[in-house]
Subunit: 382 residues, 2 copies
């Protein structure tokens, strides 16, 4: 997979066709079409596209109706690109409205477009009553990446670069919505989701995504509710999904150097293209629509719980683990940071505050020991 922060994919190692920074808008888009068409036929592939950089963005006061570019390329599923974006934007609005209502605080919005097409809408709530930080970002990305980078960025990378050889850059389109929400109360869990749609040059496409829960304290019924909500969605679409995607989340959100998972998982999937796009889109859509019912009730339930300073410190230490995972292992974050993206969107996922204590040990029999055991030995919740 590319990214749990999809926006980072924007900056992965390349620039989209048409983002060459020369010529007038019309000229650029013609060049782009020509270049992509060439690429599609395997002739005259772009040799060394300029490195993408944040310099090519423009902040705008309002997002255009669509950030998807009007290409008409053979192999591109323009209809899916547009509908996936529209669905992300609809979900972003609905999710932010629900969170905002619970918190009593508005989200701020940053919108940008890029010269070569694409752009993003970041919405962030800071200093809330319930949430210390809640972010939800849409990205539409036209980029290209070395064949090798694609291989390391997706689980079955080689399949994603059909017809491209070592050293060649593969143009791609990506659209996704990603989010992390960190409540203040240590009894209320953090939640992350990301749903994305990819196409590489020549008509190769796939869906990825997932939703996962990171509590500091274990309330079994909460975890069962979250997992149960997603199990129901999974079961409706494919009887094998939940088991596979639950396991995938446990494996992906793993802090290897700690021997623990980041949280209590959920579902995670990538490289989904074994059914027709409509069918997988319907699943992805329902996953996105389940964010609010799966998560917000848990925050509503715990936002005013009493807690001790020690419990707050434990939450802060778990926040530290969140930082460790995101900065050390999250492929999208690491790629994004190293290749020059919109840092504030990439690092929106970090908590407002975190804590590291030397050699902290939990006391056996305590709630902290209980949840740590679940981080070390992933459990079945439904």
């Amino acid at each position: 997979m590319i990214a749990c922060n999809l926006q980072t994919a924007a900056y992965v190692l390349g620039v989209g066709a048409g983002n060459s920074g020369v010529g007038a808008a019309n000229g650029r888009s013609q060049q782009a079409a020509a270049r992509m068409a060439e690429a599609a036929t395997g002739e005259a592939k772009p040799s060394t596209p300029p490195s993408i950089s944040w310099d090519s963005h423009t902040y705008v006061s309002e997002a255009p109706d669509s950030l998807v570019r009007d290409d008409d390329l053979s192999g591109a599923n323009m209809d899916m690109r547009r509908r996936f974006e529209a669905n992300c934007r609809r979900a972003q609005t609905a999710i932010c409205a629900a969170v905002s209502e619970l918190d009593g605080t508005e989200f701020r919005e940053d919108v940008w477009t890029r010269e070569g097409g694409g752009g993003g809408i970041s919405r962030v709530l800071v200093g809330g009553n319930v949430f210390e930080k809640a972010g939800c970002s849409l990205s539409v990305v036209y980029g290209s990446m070395p064949q090798e980078a694609l291989a390391s960025a997706t689980t079955r990378g080689a399949d994603r670069a059909k017809g491209y050889g070592p050293g060649e850059r593969v143009p791609f389109f990506a659209c996704g919505l990603s989010s992390v929400m960190h409540p203040r109360n240590p009894m209320a869990p953090t939640m992350h989701f990301n749903y994305r749609y990819f196409e590489t040059e020549g008509g190769v496409w796939w869906f990825g995504g997932g939703s996962d829960l990171t509590p500091s304290y274990l309330f079994e019924e909460d975890v069962k509710h979250f997992h149960g909500t997603y199990k129901e969605v999974c079961d409706k679409h494919d009887p094998t999904y939940y088991e596979r995607f639950k396991k995938w989340a446990d494996e992906y959100f793993y802090i290897k150097h700690r021997g623990e998972t980041r949280g209590l998982g959920g579902i995670f999937f990538d490289d989904q293209n074994d059914k027709d796009p409509e069918t997988i889109f319907a699943f992805s859509k329902e996953c996105l629509d389940s964010v609010i019912p799966a998560y917000l009730p848990l925050v509503a339930k715990h936002k005013d719980d009493e807690f001790t300073p020690t419990q707050k410190e434990w939450q802060q230490m778990r926040r530290g683990r969140y930082v460790e995972f995101n900065l050390v292992y999250d492929r999208g974050t690491v790629f994004g940071l190293k290749t020059g993206g919109r840092i504030e969107s990439i690092l929106m996922s970090l908590p407002e505050t975190a804590r590291w204590e030397y050699n902290h040990q939990v006391t056996p029999g305590t709630p902290e020991a209980d949840i740590l055991d679940a981080f070390k030995n992933p459990r079945e919740w439904c």
Copy 2:
């Protein structure tokens, strides 16, 4: 270079000769000697040594007189190994005593040895009056790493693996002392140092190290004092040292995705073997002896300064940058985390608390803007 946290080198991708986990102690050490001798002559190099893991350590209540193994190998500079370790231990004791006296709090100590030789002494002060966290760790390491890893772990890696081909593991010895100190008061700077000595199989050796300062607020005279102390040491040993090593620090402690340095630098060097070992050891020794006079007066001066909550928040955000550097860029930390080391020693360098605010901007003309400018445009201090 291998590591700013040298202890991480302990865990870099291999296991020392003699740590095979089979046979009695005597047998192991004979096997080890035989294997290293074979390796030295270029014959029958170890094929797939077992992966090192933290399982091979033993906590002990008191460190043995030396953690350096009694090999008698051709090419090994046993005298330098022993004297470098002894000097690190002397400096560790002196530095911790001075910090402890200023703080009014004792360091706690964790000591361990490893089956195949080597071990460590971690000293950590937590919850101090002046320091939120101060750590100082000695490591003596017998390991081996793939020829390729050596190439990426040191600036001139290929030179360090004489006679070894791609895919072969190169046995090494390393000894070093490393430290990070985070004071509570936002006007008092954080300091990091690391001094180390390496030998790889076959008599290749080098020294590395450095001391650097990370303030949240800029007091020019403090930075001049710190840099000036090290410039004086450098000038005494080589007129080219300060200019080269100051620049090296600015380049190494760079947070690429932020376009800023972690702090205000100091000196940093690696791969030093162009003079005789005694001469470089004398320089390294004097650098270590300069930690207390270069740094502690700055903390003593600012430990009781008044500060506002906003200034504390700014310090916390700079702590966040410290975390970003250490987890994303510090080669030793990243290697150590991914290859299984003593996590608590590796991550001792992280601050107790850190903060991330979405899209934080400094106000022009403020002290925060002033120091941020110095992070973005490294200055000359003396």
